[in-house]
């Protein structure tokens, strides 16, 4: 039997009385693309924040390749090879696109105080960072200030940085939202090629067509709880999912 790469066991996160994530369990296997679906406020991003260490779970456990990682700070989790993007993009605005990627490339140095004094401005480093930009199609904008880029390019920059960090798992938080049609299909191709390289991807996605086409498996959250799990075709026909998205019995004017 294949061991799951990442697993959540009854993970909860409460903010006061609000149960943002409520007893969610799931497993992700190596090389898989797992989709997380759910209406706004279902707890998807909170779940990402729990995995990446930005929040500590109120209860439950998160395991990554045989190691418990809940409660570990974000920078230590990143070092294990879990990269993520943010739904609300967080570029290092006054740095160039290239420098944004270089920041991520420093991940092997930041925990050793002896290694942080070297120069990032070396030919080798810049070449490697440029390769990543090439992969996401941002080569032409390498010297541009990140804060000046339009949203579509910022989403790609987020993926570039996450790719450098996440040599094992990528967490993509609504990377498709706000993109044009041609950008969407390019990003789909990119994610497929990332998977071919052996990475595991977990993505939060509202766009049904995208998630149905891309994901091997999907879990659906509503009000912080997992209400469904299965292959895309199964999810499409799941009654509770349809209710969560379109409203349950007795809802009038549901279209």
């Amino acid at each position: 039997m294949i061991q799951p790469l990442l697993s959540a066991k009854g993970v909860s996160k409460y903010f006061g009385g609000l149960r943002a994530v409520d007893g969610v369990s799931f497993e992700v296997f190596p090389g898989e693309i797992l989709g997380i679906l759910g209406p706004n406020g279902a707890g998807k991003t909170v779940l990402f924040n729990l995995i990446s260490g930005i929040y500590e779970p109120t209860s439950g456990e998160i395991w990554f390749s045989g190691e418990r990682i809940d409660g570990i700070p974000p920078h230590a989790i990143a070092k294990k090879g879990i990269g993520r993007t943010f739904q609300i993009v967080k570029p290092f605005a006054s740095l160039t696109v290239l420098q944004n990627v270089l920041v991520a490339r420093g991940i092997t140095r930041y925990s050793h105080l002896t290694k942080v004094w070297g120069s990032w401005n070396s030919k080798g480093e810049i070449e490697k960072a440029s390769e990543v930009l090439e992969k996401v199609g941002l080569s032409d904008l390498a010297e541009r200030k990140a804060g000046l880029l339009p949203l579509g390019n910022l989403r790609r920059l987020e993926i570039a940085r996450a790719l450098v960090v996440g040599h094992s798992v990528l967490l993509l938080d609504e990377s498709f939202s706000g993109l044009r049609h041609d950008e969407i299909s390019r990003l789909e191709d990119l994610i497929r090629s990332i998977r071919k390289d052996g990475l595991t991807v977990i993505l939060i996605e509202h766009n049904m067509r995208v998630s149905m086409g891309l994901c091997d498996r999907i879990i659906v959250l509503d009000h912080g709880q997992k209400i469904a799990e299965g292959r895309p075709t199964e999810i499409q026909q799941d009654k509770s999912v349809i209710e969560a998205y379109l409203g349950g019995k007795g809802t009038t004017h549901a279209t």
Binding site: S52, G53, I54, P73, P74, H75, I77, A78, K79, G83, R84, F86, K90, P91, F92, A93, S94, L95, Q99, L102, V103, A104, G106, I107, T108, R109, Y110, S111, L113, K115, V116, W117, G118, S119, W120, N121, R161, V164, V165
Partner: protein, 294 residues
Amino acid sequence: MSAYVVTIATLMVVQAIAVCGLNVIVGYAGQISLGHAAFFGIGAYSTAVLTTKLGISFWTALPLVIGISALIGLLLGLPSLRVREDFLAITTIGINFIVEAVFRYVPFFGGALGIGGIPRVMFFGVRLKGIPFFLLCLGFLVLVLLICWWLTRSWASLACYAIREEEAAASTMGISPVRFKLLAFVIGTAMAGLGGSLYAHYMQFISAGDFSFPISVGFLAMLVLGGMGTLWGPVVGTLILGILPELFRPLVDYRIFFYTLLLLLMIRFQPGGLLGENSFARKIITPLLKGLRK
């Protein structure tokens, strides 16, 4: 050069060293500090105590002074840097008041009378004062600027920039915010300590009031005016805010009014400082420099 000019110039260079340190904390790492004068004072008082009470020389004391300033920076930074923005501003103001109070009320530090009789710096048997001491200070400023320039090319500063821009994103790239904020704070306070030490040996007499909160505000004003996060901003800001009060000495009653006006205008029209990106000055200077290189 008249003695008056030398005095003003020396004090400006000494202040510029401290402002360079503040630039590492505020400009590079984006952590506001309104208590930088406290560390300037810690440098001054450590060298004063070491040289007057233990009788060791400026040069022997210097590494200790920088070490003490950095160590106290580390100890005070550890709790302070866990809070952000407005709260950090208030915490650092608190640090300034506490440190000043320690100098003022602890008899060991001379109490309200301060510490006098601080010896002049000896350099190969020569007692430095006037222009030679000014040149020594200038040498230290050049050294500090070189360190700052070298820092901007390091991974450490890249980590600091990332924290300044987006702390949450930085942390998901393996950067421990607390560690690098502390690192910047320690480097900045060490530079303040160096500046303070030179100040003490120049004035030969120091008292707690020399390191009060308004001095910190002055340091920050110099940095904001010159350009946070730039290499030359601290020097330019210190020059302007050092010379202006001398030029407007007849208007001494309105000095604070002009300072405030200047800062408000800067924030409104040149938020990046005089040497900040896209500033008027930089637009003029950059083509000139390119022309020179050709």
